[in-house]
């Protein structure tokens, strides 16, 4: 049996390793073009926004159009700082993982705006249900970096007692839910959480993030059905970074024009946005949050972006896509674009940027030093072995007590 024409259709990407990177098939509408409806617009009236692309920063790095959130320079500098920190942190953690300091790591390189801008547009009291690639939220919400690292190296100060894989953070104080290793499971949970907040009469809303690959799971549909039926105050984000490990987005998308369009099938508000445009992400999240808080229901946001690095420390993308794609990704780099925008406004310059990078690099290095003083996965100390048996239930039952005894701890 040798290869012949496939007898049924199986989508394949335009280019594969060895081919020249090429994104010419991707249509990029100009910045500023999309209309910004009132937040109480009926879901079906946002259909065009599911098919277009909300963009604020144009090719000259100017903020244009109705979606410009008109942030102050301070706000944008803060956003830039969080994004740079996210990148610096990711890079350092990758190095440390390569050195055997932790078992596993996942970067968010190229997608920093998706997390950071959204977190800044939300209230800190809003509950987030992220996937493993929104660490930017933690920086935006001011989580202690040492704590984050202690989790990643599973040491005695890991607030998860060494139970979770690195990057699977939980931070209740910061309204950051426990990240699941299972894809899409938290999408419908976020809806339930949002309903409960509304039930309690609070103004808190919820937001969740999944990848475009994850949108194929049944729980995606469950979440949208719930959100639509109960008009829940929730933001459901699909981060379309083109790849799901080695699988290009076409396997999840099939013939679908966009991922955001799926939301229309449920009558939800839908936005498709330039995920590498800090201002677009901010504006879209702000709009959706306002809509949710005012009781007009959920919004589905597709952030169009590109996973610039490997899926995780367990894979090498050169096995499934051409090298150098990140460099020519037509929506550019989110850090660079916000930086240039601020420079264009006269609110930033290369020197300050370099200084910022240096400062954050030092912070990260110093933080790691401190984190390591509480132990590492490899050399300990870890949380006590007996903690294995804690938190399975509020109180261990006889089985767990016996088992703990068997282990002699």
């Amino acid at each position: 049996m040798t290869q012949s024409d496939p007898r049924f259709h199986v989508p394949a990407p335009h280019v594969r390793p060895g081919d020249t990177p090429d994104f010419s098939h991707i249509a990029i509408p100009p910045a500023g073009e999309a209309k910004r409806p009132a937040v109480d617009v009926a879901g079906p009236e946002t259909m065009d926004l599911a098919l277009g692309l909300v963009r604020v920063l144009d090719h000259n790095h100017q903020a244009v159009g109705e979606w410009d959130p008109k942030l102050t320079a301070d706000q944008m500098r803060e956003g830039l700082k969080h994004m740079v920190l996210t990148r610096v942190y990711d890079d350092r953690m990758l190095k440390l993982q390569r050195q055997g300091k932790m078992s596993f790591y996942m970067k968010s390189t190229g997608e920093e705006a998706v997390a950071v801008a959204a977190a800044m547009a939300l209230d800190n009291g809003d509950m987030v249900f992220p996937s493993y690639r929104q660490q930017g939220i933690l920086f935006a919400r001011g989580r202690d970096i040492v704590d984050m690292m202690c989790h990643c190296i599973s040491n005695s100060r890991d607030n998860l007692k060494g139970r979770q894989l690195p990057v699977h953070y939980t931070w209740a104080e910061g309204n950051f839910f426990s990240i699941s290793g299972n894809l899409t499971t938290q999408f419908p949970q976020a809806v339930g959480y949002a309903m409960a907040a509304q039930y309690k009469g609070e103004k808190q809303i919820a937001a969740s993030w999944i990848g475009e690959g994850s949108s194929a799971e049944g729980d995606f549909h469950g979440a949208l059905v719930l959100a639509s039926t109960y008009k829940a105050p929730v933001i459901l984000n699909i981060v379309n970074n083109q790849w799901a490990i080695s699988t290009f987005q076409g396997i999840a998308a099939g013939e679908a024009p966009t991922f955001a369009l799926k939301g229309q099938g449920y009558g939800l508000a839908t936005l498709r946005i330039d995920g590498n445009d800090f201002l677009a992400v901010y504006a879209a999240t702000q709009w959706a949050a306002e809509r949710a808080r005012a009781g007009h229901g959920a919004t589905v946001i597709e952030s169009f972006t590109y996973r610039a690095d490997a899926h995780s420390t367990s894979d090498d993308p050169s096995g499934y896509r051409p090298k150098g794609e990140d460099a020519i990704w037509p929506l550019g780099d989110p850090v660079e674009r916000l930086k240039q925008h601020l420079i264009g406004l006269g609110e930033w310059d290369e020197e300050r940027h370099e200084a910022l990078e240096k400062e954050l690099n030092e912070l990260v290095i110093a933080s790691y030093k401190e984190a390591e003083s509480f132990g590492t996965l490899h050399d300990g100390p870890l949380s006590p072995v007996s903690s294995i048996f804690e938190d399975v239930y509020a109180e261990p039952d006889w089985r767990l007590r016996r088992q703990r005894q068997d282990l002699g701890v």
Binding site: G192, Y193, A196, T229, R399
Partner: protein, 337 residues
């Protein structure tokens, strides 16, 4: 005290808890306006409003996930899965999420959800309205598993489940909803009216999870079971005139190992019984643990009474259901061994 069947007793538990605690919500497919296909949630929407007792879309995963999210925000949702056979689309949300959130967040988030679901056969439901999938849930660290056998326990245990700070999978043997059932398929239907456990206080009360009942004391052998088969075991024992001790587990996780071992150490002979298919059913766990803890007291192999390793057939339901004769055969086996 009032006479209640199991449906009324469960309804009363929900009513008391919703009255007492505004964080208690009830929902499920057809469980709102209509009050559930078995009427367990009847009247709750009328009394407590649309947002406290409501209909859910037909998506069991979404139902569990919604409950999980709500519980993380401090509510105590009671979700109904219409038939236990239909819990499987929601199983991932139970295995990977609901059961583990306390653990993986190191106690930062907890999810006190109760999942109620009618289980078991004996109502000519065919293979998709008859399953007893409890053993699946006993394998999941982080959930507790309950199955009452009468109205009084049903109410007290459901109350305890709702108040419990961990998730509880609460199985309701639907064959017992309207009356005790001794496993004689042809016999007259009896009602809970005449049964002592059909006497149920209207007011709030709870029964401890993790505690079994010795429903019949005896010296010759121990029968460890739960749900519908408690009544079948009783009938078989009476019919055969054997002085068996019968234990109604009520809670499967964690099961009451003390009551079990006390009994088996006394009688030296043991039958474990489940309605589910035999292989890897909860009876296997019981037998494995009992042989370990009571080895030197055992005078005969532990016998398992169970459904066959097939789907639940429709027409031959009564050849599938582990009725009195199967108990009698097993009793003879353990006594003669």
């Amino acid at each position: 005290m009032a006479k209640m069947n199991m449906i009324q007793a469960l309804n009363s538990a929900l009513d008391n808890m919703m009255e007492k605690d505004p964080n208690v919500l009830s929902f499920g497919e057809d469980a709102g306006y209509f009050g559930g296909v078995f009427r367990v949630t009847a009247g709750l929407q009328e009394k407590y409003g649309l947002d406290r007792s409501f209909d859910a879309p037909i998506n069991e995963a979404a139902i569990v996930a919604m409950a999980t999210g709500m519980a993380a925000k401090g509510l105590r949702p009671v979700a109904e899965i219409q038939f236990a056979d239909y819990i499987f689309p929601g199983l991932d949300q139970i295995v990977s999420e609901l059961s583990r959130i306390r653990y993986r967040s190191a106690g930062q988030f907890t999810t006190p959800v109760t999942i109620r679901t009618p289980c078991g056969g004996g109502i000519r439901g065919g293979q998709t309205h008859s399953m007893s999938p409890e053993a699946f849930f006993t394998q999941i660290p982080g959930v507790q598993v309950v199955m009452p056998s009468n109205p009084y326990d049903a109410k007290g245990l459901l109350t305890a489940a709702i108040e419990n700070d961990d998730p509880v999978i609460f199985f309701e043997p639907k064959r017992l909803y309207n009356g005790p059932f001794d496993g004689h398929s042809g016999g007259a239907l009896s009602s809970w009216g005449a049964h002592p456990k059909g006497e149920v206080p209207e007011d709030y009360y709870s029964l401890p999870l993790g505690k079994a009942d010795v429903v019949r004391e005896g010296s010759e052998l121990s029968i460890i079971t739960y749900g519908t088969l408690v009544h079948v075991a009783l009938a078989a024992v009476e019919q055969e005139g054997i002085d068996a001790e019968i234990i109604d587990l009520k809670t499967l996780v964690p099961y009451d190992i003390e009551t079990i071992t006390r009994s088996v150490n006394k009688t030296g002979r043991c039958i474990v019984a489940q309605e589910a298919p035999r292989t890897s059913g909860f009876g296997a766990e019981l037998a494995a643990q009992i042989q370990e803890d009571c080895f030197y007291a055992l005078e005969a192999p532990i016998q398992r009474v169970a459904g066959w390793d097939t789907p639940y057939p429709h027409a031959h339901e009564w050849s599938y259901f582990p009725g009195p004769q199967r108990f009698i055969n097993a009793m003879r086996e353990v006594l003669e061994a």
